[in-house]
Structures are given as structure tokens and as C-alpha cells.
Amino acid sequence: MKLLYSWLKDFIDINLTPEELTKHFTSLGMEVADLKKTGADFDGVYAAKIERIENHPNSDHLHLVDLMTKDGPQRVVCGAQNIAVGQIVPLAKVGSRLGKIVLKPAVIRGVSSEGMLCSADELGLASTRQKGILVLDNSVQVGADIKQLYGGEADYIFDLELTPNRPDLMSILGIARELSTLLNLPLKNKTYKAVNGKGKSLEINLSCGADGCQRYMGRIIKDVKNVPSPQWLQDRLLALGVNPKSALVDITNYVMFELGQPLHAFDLSHIEDGKINVRFAEEGEKFLGLDDIERTLTPQMLVICDDRKPLCLAGILGGKHDSILDTTKDIFLEAANFNPVCINKTSKKLGLSSESSQRFERGLDINGPALAMQAATALILEICGGKPSEINDVYPQKIETPEVTFTLKQIEDILGMKILQEKAEQILRSLGTLTIDEKWTFKANSYRRDLKHRWDIAEELARYYGLENLAPQITSTHATLYFAEHPKTIDIGEKFSQTLVGLGFFECKNIALTSKKDVENFGYTTAQVPEIANPLAEGLEYLRPSLLASLLKNLEYNQRFSNNDLCLFEYDKTFSLQKGYPAEGFSLAGVMTGKTPREKFFLSPQCQVGFYGLKGIITKLLGDFTYTLQSAKQAPKYMHPKICMEIIVDKKVIGYFGELHPLTLKKYDLKQQVYAFEFSVKNLEKQFSAAEFKKAKDVPNLPSAWRDLSFIIDEKTQYSDILSALKDTPAKINLIDLYEGKNLPEGKKSLTLRFEFSAQEKTLTDKEVNGHVDNIFKTLQNSFGATLR
């Protein structure tokens, strides 16, 4: 909301710098979004008359201007294009002050200039809205002091950000009241004369009930002259960014800004049958607004009608047909209190917001119409003349602010601080009526409908006391100690993240919203995942069931900057629908692509880690869990059909890892092979507790013995089959060579296994070790027909 400092002074005698005022506003909960200096802020600027204009000899846009001044003729250099011979203009000479600048002699392109012609901006008279040099009225005498002409002082425009619970602050008066309480200063008695008027007003029917309108006041004023507003009124509106139109329109705006109560003036000649009906619109009813746009209304929207047609969209927009013209003679003036919910819904639905609707939708003072009617009538009579009727005030159900009963101790308990009774009384008495017995009973003034219980009272006292004064020294706490573990999903995520970071993976964060394509590319249908009813944009309609699409997009993004060697992961929620209800669970996913550091290093021989690298990652990740890996019989569509394994926990497949299908790569515009994994952590949670310490196993003190065994075996035999056949062997088994190709019988491959036998009790003898190896080979012979190489 915009606030003009000088206008504020109509209501309260303050002499604060704008900085001091900003501090007060901030502490009261009003943020100063902008502060502009305006108003005359200069000295020694006098009117002068332009006698002659010549082109500057060294410039194609500057002029040499000869002037008649109070001290005789003078020549200055000027760049403005709106000057003409005969104009009266403001001249600042050497020594004159413009804001913080004191003028010095200047030489402009070789011509000396002993002064300058001033624009409105340079004089701080922005509200005149004149571009270029400020051209004064011809009646202004040469030598007249411009400062006298423009009232003389710097002024300030504050742009305040208000909280939605304080509609009463949306006016100059409201801010003055706030400062009056804060500074304990009385409000100035700015009264508009009450006019009783003669003759009946229009008949008013609130057929909408309280859901539409809680109070409606109206009066007729006849024989008005809708002249242009006087300069002071125009200046004030301009300062708030409102363009003056005509006195009647300007006065309703002026009163709204000053008192916070929107008003509406109808041209009486357009109201048929002399009746006002406030009703809800009919379905499909048409309304042509002041803005020449025809809108179709619905039954939630409130309209002000005469006997036949809507004249005005209540509290939001005037109608084309009832609008005030320069020729308007008789008016009907409305001051009403419309239901905030109704105005809010209509404004939202039509996408139509006005200064008026913004005030109504927050809930206004039920007594505001009376004050505003009085002020507007007084101003209209002063400026436009006219004969007012009586006021018709329809106020079916009286609205009272509630009585709040409390003790000072209760307030002190909420705030955690002692409150001076005297100060509390002063604050509360300025906000309403206060009776003090055993308990305090407070009833707020009608414009503070937000003060409903003792917590509201506590907030008011804290605000006016200043939060900075609130118990600055407390250091003790009586907080009860209690302890709980982090949720398992958090701890398990932390464990996985740390492991992956250690293995060279970078953590990514992606948003949970995704597209139909991304849902379907990873084996889900859109019916299986929650869908947004009002998506922000195309491609953000669904909640992601899998994290892989996002990670592939991250790879693609990095690929654009030639970053092709990447390991990325994400741990986040994935979504599904279970019997019509949304379900959420955490997943871990990762992708690997390009060369490993070892492959990239200039001294390293070429080696491909590929799938087995990924398998190593999975093995490290799940090192502390019980699980099995198994070649996927039916790989998911997005995976390579042959290079994909299942991760199995408690007989359930919790996820997959492997090489991505070439078509998946194509869909995400990826230029090189990607290895990926994703699994759900739910089934792992029961095997994990951050609180549980792992028990150490004893390690043998004696050296171990090892033997290598090379053998030839059918090429179809899987390594896992060999391991399971040898599972009772008391040795660690490592594959140290695998050979397929030349010098081997057709359909065979050769493996070299290293067996490491460790001894717990005593050093193993050669005989014992050889015995083991013989057994191993026998097993291989019997199970797979292995032959020694």
C-alpha cells in the first residue's frame, strides 16, 4: 500500500525522518518495500522567461537559451526538446540547491552555462508527471520563487507490505492509528462536517442477505458540477500513482485511500425506478464493466442493481452504464460493507482485482461506511456543490467485536516476559475499551475485528512493546529432554549416500513432477501414479514412480557441456497409487557412464569396467545386508535384455541394475552407454538400524596359504554355478583369469581361480592344503566335467 508522508501528518503530529519511520513500520510488521522522495526539495530556483533559442554551435541536440530573469538577461545551455520562446520555466543558477546538489558553473561543449532549466523530476515534483522542462503557467511572474509555488517541503512516498490480517491498515488513517498507539500520541481531530441532508434517499433492498452485504448506506446528491479536482487533491492522488479524472471520481478514490472505505458514485439518471437492489447474479447474466469488457456472471457474484439491470459488480468494478461523466448532475453515493469471502471469490473467478476489491476481500470496519459517507459528502459539497438527501443506512444485523477476558499473567505466560501494567493499559485503551476487575475485559474498536482472544492481545502487546525488548537475557531453558532416532528412511539414505559419494558418485536433486513419457519409459502406466489436476506446465503432470528418467536427463544436460564421464545418484521418494490412495516410498537410483578415473588417467592401460563396475557398486552398497543377485529372466523394457540383474531381498525383487537399452538412451538423447540401478529401500529397512553397532569378528593371526587352479569348463557354465558348487570350500575364492578363444576346445572356456586358505589354530601344512585343492577339483570334475589346463 502506498502512503504519502504529508498526508499522514493530517492525522498525527509526527516529526520523524523517513528512516526512523521505516524502522517503526518494520518493527510493527509492515515491510517498507520502497521509499521514494518527492515534493519540492530545492532552494534558489526562480521563474524565468524564454526570450530566444539558438542551436548550440558544437552540438546537434543542445540549445543556447536566452532568458529574462529577476536579475536581468542570462544565457544557459539546455538539452530539452520541449522548450519554446515565451514559456515561463524554472531556472536554477550557480549556488542554487537541487536535492543534495549545489550547482556549480559548467562549460558544456565549449559554451559556459551559469545555470540550468529544471525538469519536474529534478525539482522533486514528480507528482506533476510532466516530462522534460517543467513549463509553468503563463501567469507566473518572472522572478517568482518556485518553492513558494509548490508548497516548499520534501515529501516521501512509502510502499508498505501489509499482512492479510490487517485490512484496517490499508488507509492513511489506519497507519496513523497504528503510530498513535506505538508512539502514545493522540490522533489529530481531522473532522469532515456531518451533513444531514434533506429529502429521501433511494430505497435499498439487501436481497442477497449477509452472505453478500452486511451494511449498505446511500444518499443522493443533486445538482453537482463535476469539475476537475483542485490541485492539492490531484497531487495527492498522483503521489499514490492514481491518475485524476474528475472531482466526483477523484473524491471517492481520495476517501478510500484516506479512510480505507471504498465508495461508489452512480449517475442517478441511470438508476431506473429509484430502487437499489443488492443481489446475487443470475447464472449467465451479462455485465458490461467500465473497462468496456462484457463478463458473464455466476450466482456466487454480487451485483448492485436497479429494478432491471446490474449497475455495478459489487465492491469490484463499476458498470459502463452507470458511470460518472463530466456532465453528470445528480448522483447516488454508495458506502457499503460487502462480505469478504464473496468479493474474494468473484475477484478470483473473474481475474479482476482493484484497490476496492483488495480492501473488501480482507474484511473492513463495519462502521467505515458512515465515516466515509460523511467525508465524501463534505468534499463533494466543497468542490462540486450540490444538495444532499438524507442517508439511507441498511444494517440488518449489528456486528460487534467480541469481548476478550484474560489476566495479565496469562499474557505474560504467552510472551515469556513481564509487562508493565501501565503500558499495557495505554496500548489496549487506544485499541478499544478496557475494564479492569479481577480479570481484564477488552473489546476492540470496530476496525480491529482480528482481536478475538488472548493470544491476539499478546501479539498486539508484543508488537507495540517491540520484539527487540522481549526478554533479551533469557539463557535458561526448562525443555524436557527426550530422544528419538532419525526415521530409518533418513538414516539408510544417509548410509547409502555416503557409500556412493565414497565410490565417486555425485548426488543429484530433481523435482518429483514428471511427464507421461517419463512415466511410461520406465515400465509404468499413468494410471499407476498420482496425477496433478492443475499442473504448472506440460511435462509436470505426474509424480514420478522412478528416479531414473530424471538422472538420465541430468546426464544429457551435462553431456551438452562435454562432461561425459559421470556417476550420479539420487535418493528420494517415488510415488504410486494403491487402491485409489497415493503411496510414497524411498528409492535409490544411480547411473554410470563414460570412463572411470583409472581409464581416463594418462598412464593407465585401456580397460573397460562397465557392467562389472556397476556390480561392484551394488556389492559395496549392500555389503551390510542379506541379499542375492540373479540374472533377470525378464529384464525391464528399459534395460538391456541380457545385461540386467535383479536384487532380491526376502525373496522379493527390490530393484534392477544393468546396462540401459539402446532405445532408452535414444529417448534421452544420450550418446554413450549408461549403466544404471534403482531399488526400493523398504525391504532393506528391517535389516538396518543406525543405533545398532556391528560386532567385530576375530581375524586369524597366522598367515594364509593359497593355491591357483586353472581348469577348462563348458562355456555355458555360469560363474555363480561354480561358486555354489564350491560353497563348502574352506577358502576365499577369487577369479584371477578368464580365457575364451584360441587353443581351447570348441565350446569351452578356461578359468583360473585363486583359493586362499586361512588358518585359525595352526599353520596349514602343504598336505592339508593339497587335500583341499584335490577335493575342489573333484567337485568341479563331478559337477561340470572340468579338466585341468
Binding site: 518494520t26 531453558t477 528419538a484 559419494v501 518429483a512 489436476a533 551435462n558 545418484f569 578415473p597
Partner: protein, 356 residues
């Protein structure tokens, strides 16, 4: 060299001292370990000079044995020690010579070990949860898809509140019930916790929230918040002020200046906003891009839990009271990690990620 086995004791003693002198002088002139080892063998080896001489011992009289035995043993000892010392000296010299022959360009690139990094948002969030943990807040989680009861109603947010609008909140379409939304704040976790747990309650609830904001440098439809809630007997605004001052100083340093301003939220009363003195310009730069010249940076919203919220969760506001606060993680991360565009968090550009 063979010695006459019938040498007299005097001859033997003379010989012993000759050996001592000769070996010691040869030992000093040894230039490398090879020479030294040869010399050691010729002196102390099985056929060495001293060994040979000692063979005479057995033919000596008991008296002579007592004289010659200890002397020759002492010499053996001292020579052994001298050889060891010389060996150490020469080996060190040789090792150093060898090392000095090394030819290498140390300025070639380092080996690029695998090391990943956590995401900057995870880093910022972890810092916040670590501090809150130390202040006794325990971690609570809640669903991202919330019903209107937990996201709005129970939080005293009126039915016609603008935040409940389709313009600001994402609604879910294809569920059986029609009141599911993507949570617009983490405050629903407060409600869920208070519904199932009696005070004392002291929780933090970090997590993602969703608002229908168009994407620009400071807005993203998804962002992260950390919620805090403390409910017990006699919890006051002063407790909130103290605890949040400690929290802010934890984040920004013990000297950080913290400012509390009155504000409004439907779920707290009184409500405050908490600012921190701009850590970039300390309030001294009128053109500071971080605080835009105001000298302060808004950090979080907070307040005393509204009695209606407590009532809605079955907690008696006449017995218990509490405070709650909510803070944006992105805001802190942008501020502290110097990230200028919120979109950078979700592009996952490795050139940004690897910096942290």
C-alpha cells in the same frame, strides 16, 4: 692367512692388535657396501683373520686363555659394531645416490581418484538438521501428498484462504478422495506428530514442499523447508526468540545479529519473522545484491502455536503451549553457498556439484 698354532701368548696379543689396527684402517677406507661386506668376511668370516687367530685359544694354558679370551672377544664385538655402523653409513649414502638419480616430472597430472560429492541442498540441510539435533529437536517425517485436513484445516487456514486456491496449490486428480494436495509446507508434519504424541514434543521436519510458482531465478515449484515445533508446558514467545537466536548463530556464527519482526500466519499467534544481518555487506552496502541494501536478510517465519491448532490436535491450549518455525533450505543455500539462481540446484551441472 694361517697362523702358527704354536704362537706364544705375546705373539698372539701382538697379532690381535695388528688385526685391530689393519681392519679398522681398511674399514675406514671402504667406499661401498660391497667392499665393506668383503672386508667383513675377510675379518670376521669363517676363514677370516680374527676367526683363524681364535682357533689358537684351545691350545693355550688356562692362564693365557683368561688373558687372551676376553681380549679377542672384545675385539670381535667392537669390530662387529664398527662394521654395522659403517654399513649403515654406506647404505644410506648409496640409497641417497640412487634416489638422486631419479628422473621424474612431478608436475604431471594427479591421479583422479573417485570422489563424489553431496548435493549443495543436502549440505545446507544437513548443517541445519545437525544444529537442530544438537538443540534437541528430533527428526519427523510426513507424506508429500497430504490431505487438506493436515495441510490446511488443522492449521487454522480458513476455507477461503488464497493459499488453498488452484492457483497456488497442486491438487491430485486420480485418487478416490478428492482432497489430496502436494503439501505446500512442512507444517502438516506438526499436525501428524501432535495427533499421535502427547507433549513434550520437540521435532524438526525437513522436506520438500510444492507451490504453483512459475519458474524464475528465485522461484521453483518445488523447494525444501525445515519445520520446527516445540510443545510443552509454559513455552513462550521468549523461548522461541532465544532458541531461534541460538539456531541462527549456529548457522551464521556467534556474532550474527538477529532481528525479530511482527508478522502474520494463520497457524501462529503471535507471529514473527526472523532476519539476519546481511553477512555479505553487514548492512553497509546500499547496493548489496544479497540484501538489496536493506542490511537484513529474511530467514524464517515463526510464532507461538495458535490455540486452534493445538485444539485441532487434541492438545489443551490452557495447559500446553508451543512455538513453531519454518525455514527455506534453498534460501540459506543460495545465501551461504553463493548460488545466484535457484534453478542451478535442479540442473545438477557437474561443474557446480563438484565444487562442494
Amino acid at each position: 692367512m694361517l697362523y702358527n698354532i704354536y704362537m706364544t701368548i705375546n705373539e698372539l696379543l701382538t697379532k690381535l692388535s695388528e688385526i685391530e689396527t689393519s681392519i679398522n684402517s681398511k674399514l675406514q677406507s671402504c667406499q661401498n657396501t660391497k667392499e665393506l661386506q668383503d672386508l667383513q668376511i675377510s675379518a670376521l668370516g669363517r676363514k677370516g683373520a680374527l676367526t683363524e687367530l681364535l682357533k689358537n685359544l684351545k691350545d693355550l694354558s688356562l692362564e693365557d686363555k683368561k688373558l687372551f679370551g676376553p681380549k679377542s672377544n672384545a675385539l670381535k664385538q667392537s669390530l662387529t659394531t664398527a662394521f654395522e655402523a659403517k654399513l649403515a653409513e654406506l647404505s644410506l649414502k648409496e640409497i641417497n645416490e640412487n634416489l638422486n638419480k631419479t628422473k621424474i616430472d612431478l608436475t604431471l597430472p594427479a591421479f583422479p581418484f573417485n570422489q563424489g560429492k553431496r548435493h549443495p541442498l543436502a549440505i545446507a540441510q544437513k548443517r541445519m538438521t545437525d544444529i537442530l539435533s544438537r538443540l534437541g529437536f528430533v527428526w519427523a517425517e510426513g507424506p508429500l501428498i497430504e490431505d487438506e485436513l493436515h495441510n490446511f484445516d488443522a492449521l487454522n487456514i480458513p476455507k477461503n484462504h488464497p493459499a488453498r486456491d488452484m492457483q497456488d496449490t497442486f491438487f491430485i486428480k486420480n485418487t478416490t478422495r478428492k482432497d489430496f494436495v502436494l503439501r505446500t509446507h512442512t507444517s502438516g508434519v506438526q499436525i501428524r506428530t501432535m495427533q499421535k504424541q502427547k507433549p513434550p514434543i520437540r521435532i524438526m521436519a525437513p522436506g520438500r514442499v510444492f507451490r504453483k510458482d512459475a519458474i524464475d531465478a528465485t522461484h521453483y515449484p518445488v523447494f525444501n523447508q525445515i519445520e520446527g515445533l516445540y510443545v510443552d508446558k509454559n513455552v513462550s514467545l521468549a523461548d522461541l526468540k532465544r532458541d531461534l537466536t541460538v539456531f541462527m548463530r549456529g548457522l551464521f556464527g556467534q556474532k550474527a545479529e538477529v532481528r525479530f519482526r511482527s508478522s502474520f500466519f494463520p497457524f501462529t499467534e503471535p507471529s514473527v519473522e526472523v532476519d539476519v544481518k546481511c553477512v555479505f555487506c553487514e548492512g553497509k552496502d546500499a547496493n548489496c545484491p544479497v540484501c538489496r541494501g536493506s542490511g537484513w536478510k529474511e530467514m524464517l517465519g515463526a510464532g507461538v502455536v495458535h490455540p486452534n491448532v493445538l485444539k485441532n490436535c487434541g492438545i489443551d491450549p490452557e495447559v500446553y503451549s508451543g512455538y513453531a518455525f519454518g525455514m527455506g533450505v534453498e534460501r540459506l543455500a543460495m545465501f551461504s553457498l553463493n548460488i545466484k539462481d535457484i534453478r542451478a540446484f535442479y540442473e545438477n551441472d557437474i561443474r557446480i556439484l563438484e565444487q562442494f
